[in-house]
């Protein structure tokens, strides 16, 4: 059974004179990835900071890992959070490993080996003694991701996670997010570009003028559809906007598309409804 790891219940927040969030309702279940897109200054980062306890809501409630995030007597903070929020603020004169070791020393939950493993996982060399100021944007972003995942948090809050990452970095990030959800972590991603986080997300929302609007409630998968008729191939192009022909495959005409179908049966049923006959379909991983 999956439980709710992050819950925003009618959360409103004003920063300065601007009402950034208006009665936000959002739920992130265990092992799922929720994405939020919005223009710069729309309040995406504010949403993450509310979940991290850096800010408290003016109205409504924020719950993280079953604990209400509110001032209380000591200024309560959620536990088990891994965050990469906005800019990449590291100590520039130290190496990546030393930066992470200093942060890890606060919780004292992991040792140097775990830090090294996290760095290697995102494609950084932990033995690189160069100071962080000499890192490229790509390397800094990777270091930010490594610090977020190194303590195996149950909730990951990632702000523009693909920012500055090269193709290899994006592939590694996708693998890491997959691993994290498989071990039960819940992930909240925000970005100003839908294409950057769309492939990772089970649910996707848009934040516009402080209001959260659902874009899609299910994860999109990439499908390969094969058919032996050119006519069916044209019908596929007409009925599925994202469909792209890729030519011949196993003596069939084939194409790829993105869609929210979870199983082969769901896609077959959709195609049958449209009167399209396909010889084979498969999810492309």
């Amino acid at each position: 059974m999956t439980s709710t790891m992050i819950k925003f219940r009618n959360v409103s927040k004003t920063i300065g004179n601007k009402q950034v969030l208006v009665r936000i309702r959002l739920t992130v279940s265990q092992g799922s990835v929720v994405g939020i897109i919005g223009a710069k200054g729309a309040g995406k980062t504010t949403l993450l900071r509310l979940a991290a306890g850096v800010l408290y809501p003016d109205a409504g409630e924020v719950w993280v890992t079953g604990k209400k995030v509110h001032p209380g007597l000591l200024g309560g903070l959620p536990s088990g959070i891994g965050a990469l929020i906005e800019s990449l603020a590291f100590l520039p004169q130290l190496s990546g490993l030393r930066n992470l070791a200093m942060l890890a020393r606060i919780r004292r939950r992991i040792n140097t080996n775990s830090i090294r493993t996290s760095m290697l996982r995102i494609g950084l060399n932990p033995d690189n003694r160069n100071p962080v100021w000499s890192y490229s944007l790509d390397m800094r972003q990777r270091l930010g991701i490594a610090q977020a995942i190194m303590e195996e948090p149950s909730v990951l809050l990632l702000d523009e996670p693909t920012n500055g990452l090269d193709q290899e970095g994006r592939r590694l990030l996708a693998d890491i997010l997959e691993e994290q959800t498989r071990r039960g972590a819940s992930i909240l991603l925000v970005s100003d570009r839908q294409a950057d986080i769309n492939p990772f997300c089970d649910k996707l929302y848009s934040l516009e003028e402080g209001v959260l609007l659902p874009i899609r409630q299910r994860r999109e998968h990439k499908w390969i559809i094969m058919t032996n008729s050119a006519e069916d191939l044209e019908l596929l192009s007409l009925n599925i906007p994202s469909f792209q022909k890729i030519g011949w495959m196993n003596n069939n005409l084939a194409g790829t598309c993105m869609g929210e179908w979870e199983t082969d049966e769901e896609l077959f049923a959709f195609l049958a409804l449209k009167g399209i006959y396909s010889t084979a379909i498969r999810k492309d991983h």
Binding site: V20, G53, V54, P71, G72, L77, G82, Q93, I106
Partner: protein, 254 residues
């Protein structure tokens, strides 16, 4: 957390502060050629009213006035805060950093003064010195110990007070200026005979070790007063800071 914060104080800032301290010591050394020993030189530096009330406190707040509020602009808060159990635990770790830094700041300054005294060529007298602070029979080392304790306690209390102001104003710079003005007011009270009765009420005058050492001889300040004043200032500032930090927005950007 200590190492993190010490590294965060950029090397350039360390360099500027200790360069100013060294220049001050050097000028003092060149103007104090009549002093009999390195101990007398070091003690005279740390008991001089201008240095005690103005120079050391201002240099200290240049280093640490932004201990809490700088994180806001540099985004360190997001990384460090999320690793603590509560905001108060996070803040107390910073105050711990401040207290340890007050000690290090004093100890390093004394070390620089000793080194300079040796370089300038003051004679190294025997450990028992008639130029010692507390009395003819006291050891210079006990004087240095007293300086370290008084400076550490006062800088920690004054630093916490400045941090409290930085939380009110949401600006380390404004807090630094207010702290500097308070130091100057303290020095004004020392300089102006008619205002000396107010001296004991200013935070940085608690560092007037020469007055504290003369506690039993009707001085303006006593050790008991200074201890009570610093404790009260520290605890009050701490409680006000905690009441702010537990609920305030730790980021101003959207």
């Amino acid at each position: 957390m200590l190492l993190f914060e010490l590294y965060y104080r950029r090397q350039s800032r360390w360099l500027v502060v200790y360069s100013l301290i060294t220049i001050h010591f050097l000028l003092m050394g060149l103007m104090s050629s009549g002093l009999a020993s390195i101990w007398q030189f070091v003690i005279s530096i740390f008991t001089q009213p201008l240095a005690a009330i103005v120079i050391f406190p201002i240099l200290f707040i240049i280093m640490f006035a932004d201990l809490v509020s700088a994180n806001d602009s540099d985004r360190f808060t997001d990384y460090t805060l999320t690793r603590f159990k509560s905001r108060v635990a996070w803040f107390l770790s910073k105050i711990g950093v401040l207290a340890v830094s007050a000690f290090l700041f004093t100890a390093i300054s004394i070390a620089i003064a000793l080194l300079l005294a040796i370089c300038i060529g003051f004679p190294m007298e025997s450990i028992s010195s008639e130029h010692s602070l507390v009395g003819k029979q006291s050891m210079p080392l006990s004087d240095l110990l007293m300086i370290i304790v008084v400076y550490t306690c006062t800088l920690a209390a004054f630093g916490t007070f400045v941090i409290m102001i930085s939380l009110f104003t949401r600006s380390a710079r404004a807090a630094g200026w207010i702290g500097a003005i308070m130091s100057l007011i303290g020095y004004g009270c020392w300089m102006e005979e008619s205002l000396r009765t107010y001296l004991k009420w200013t935070p940085t005058s608690q560092m007037l070790v020469s007055q504290l050492a003369d506690s039993n001889r009707g001085s303006l300040l006593t050790i008991q007063w200074s201890f009570t004043y610093n404790s009260f200032l520290f605890v009050l500032s701490l409680l006000v800071c905690i009441s702010i930090i537990r609920k305030v927005d730790l980021s101003k950007s959207v």
